[in-house]
């Protein structure tokens, strides 16, 4: 199917419009939040929290309430648990992350299996963007607006506490609360991304577009916009491949973002390996001429 036919299908099918809209919102918020996650050195934490959302989603499903509440609850509890274990024993932070999130994930799998709906499990884990319902779309939009609002409102606090935590503390900024607030935002982003990329691959949408943007600019504000744009491009093209070849949307979206990362990695004007090699070769030649 050509891109043109994809556009035709887009005009024709409402489910595809909802899928596209949701993907775009997810691309934007994952891109924005991802910048702070990678600059705070929390890529692994992002992976952990997104997985830890699973039991919350399962319990909400069982109780018939919205995913959102359960997910935020178990996500934040896991973040607190990780902090508690690493601060009160000789277990290091990365070990605590590994232990806590896998346990939570396992609990989620058990609960969902007991509910006997493995189809749902598959969709929660890997995303099924073409099955986005109207209510899911509104939740994603609501979370998107909330996340963007929080980042705009607390941009300065996030910037300072990310750049220099010691200085933030000496200013009286509550680093700990900023950390947990960010964890809460992370769980919300995960919930918003459940249907587009699924729990297992959310972390890729948090890290890859932000890392790509990081290779392209030296300014945080620019990095955030770029990261959001790269997130959107990944989502839209990922959706196209998912729809055209009937593949899991999470996988296609992540592959597009990985491709964009590879492009930046090799060809970024300032950081790209190709230009660096070219420059150093040129310098060497110039040196030899002298």
């Amino acid at each position: 199917m050509s891109i043109f036919e994809f556009f035709q299908a887009l005009l024709q099918y409402e489910f595809l419009q909802k899928a596209l809209f949701t993907s775009v919102v997810v691309g934007i918020i994952c891109g924005i939040v991802g910048c702070f996650i990678i600059l705070r050195g929390m890529a692994l934490m992002g992976d952990a929290i997104s997985h830890a959302v699973l039991p919350g989603v399962a319990i909400s499903y069982m109780l018939g309430i919205n995913f959102f509440f359960g997910a935020v609850l178990t996500g934040v509890l896991t973040a607190i648990g990780i902090g508690y274990v690493s601060q009160n024993s000789r277990i290091k932070h990365d070990m605590a992350i590994g232990i806590m999130f896998t346990s939570m994930f396992a609990v989620g799998i058990v609960i969902i299996t007991m509910m006997k709906s493995s189809a749902d499990l598959y969709h929660i884990l890997f995303g099924n963007v073409l099955a986005v319902r109207m209510s899911d779309m509104w939740i994603t939009l609501g979370i998107g607006l909330l996340v963007i609002g929080l980042v705009v409102l607390f941009y300065k606090e996030l910037l300072v506490s990310t750049f220099d935590p010691t200085m933030a503390q000496s200013y009286g900024l509550p680093n700990k609360w900023i950390h947990y607030a960010l964890m809460a935002v992370l769980t919300m982003v995960t919930v918003a991304s459940l249907q587009t990329v699924g729990i297992v691959l959310v972390v890729a949408m948090l890290i890859t577009p932000a890392a790509t943007a990081y290779l392209l600019t030296n300014r945080l504000s620019v990095m955030i916009y770029l990261s959001a744009i790269i997130g959107v491009i990944s989502s839209v093209f990922g959706l196209y491949f998912s729809f055209t070849y009937n593949l899991a949307s999470g996988a296609t979206i992540v592959l597009v973002s990985a491709f964009l990362f590879a492009l930046a990695f090799f060809f970024s004007p300032s950081q790209g390996l190709v230009w660096k090699a070219h420059k150093s070769r040129k310098n060497r030649l110039e040196l030899m001429e002298k």
Partner: protein, 258 residues
């Protein structure tokens, strides 16, 4: 509240601090006068950084009290009055995507509330701060591209931009070459002279520092000397040997206990 008069910027009252069974500070009492430029010296591991952290309320001592401008540190709210430049190595992410200008403007965020962004007058303050540390030419360079000494100047500018009354520098010249260190001290002296600011400079290196400061305090778990530069130089030779001699003794003592 204790009545300290108005001439005291920092008062430390019988402060003791220990990590587990390791004593870091023992009964430290000192007063730092407003408008002074204090060099706080002591060998590595003498508790200088811990004392600074207690003064800033970042660590809670097990005993004793700190007063900032006459206010107990846990009640103190006027953090705008205090600029702090930490040891370069332990903080900040060198690969962070921010220009020198942006880093300095972060120093204003304490004053600029929610929703409000930097006004033209704030930007002028940032430029002034950059000029006062002779870094205005590097304003748009990425912080990670600057040398260690230049980065440290940017961090001073960040502390200066909110017009603090008290500036605390914790080993600002670690990893900076000797020549840059001297010009750095000279810059601090000029800042002190021009702005009538109280400065506390923490260092383990007594050498050149004494020719720039007005007062000296020697710390090695306890305060061994606190007076003006002249007094320090007069008593320097025997004080210093006693000071570092004591340091050796303490290490030996610790060793025997284990």
């Amino acid at each position: 509240m204790e009545n300290n008069g108005n001439s005291i910027a920092i008062r430390v009252d019988d402060l003791s601090f220990h990590y587990g069974d390791k004593n870091v500070l023992q009964h430290v009492t000192m007063e730092i006068k407003k408008g002074s430029f204090l060099g706080l010296v002591g060998p590595n591991g003498s508790g200088k950084s811990t004392l600074i952290k207690c003064i800033l309320g970042l660590q809670k001592p097990q005993q004793g009290q700190v007063y900032l401008f006459g206010e107990k540190v846990n009640k103190f709210n006027d953090w705008d009055k205090i600029g702090y430049v930490s040891q370069k190595a332990n903080s900040f992410n060198t690969a962070f995507p921010a220009t020198a200008f942006e880093v300095v403007s972060m120093g204003l965020f304490g004053k600029v509330g929610l929703f409000r962004f930097l006004k033209p007058s704030d930007k002028k303050k940032v430029w002034d701060a950059l000029k006062s540390v002779n870094m205005d030419k590097s304003a748009h360079q990425n912080i990670g591209e600057l040398s260690g000494g230049q980065q440290q100047r940017i961090f001073i500018a960040r502390a200066l931009v909110s017009d603090p009354e008290l500036l605390i520098l914790d080993e600002p010249t670690v990893g900076v070459d000797t020549e840059s260190t001297e010009s750095f001290y000279k810059m601090l002296k000029d800042l002190h002279h021009d702005n009538n600011m109280t400065l506390v400079l923490v260092t383990h290196d007594v050498g050149v520092m004494t020719s720039y400061v007005t007062d000296v305090a020697c710390l090695n778990k306890q305060v061994h000397f606190h007076g003006n530069t002249k007094e320090f130089e007069e008593s320097s030779s025997d004080k210093m040997s006693a000071f570092y001699g004591h340091h050796v003794h303490v290490l030996h003592h610790d060793h025997e206990q284990k």
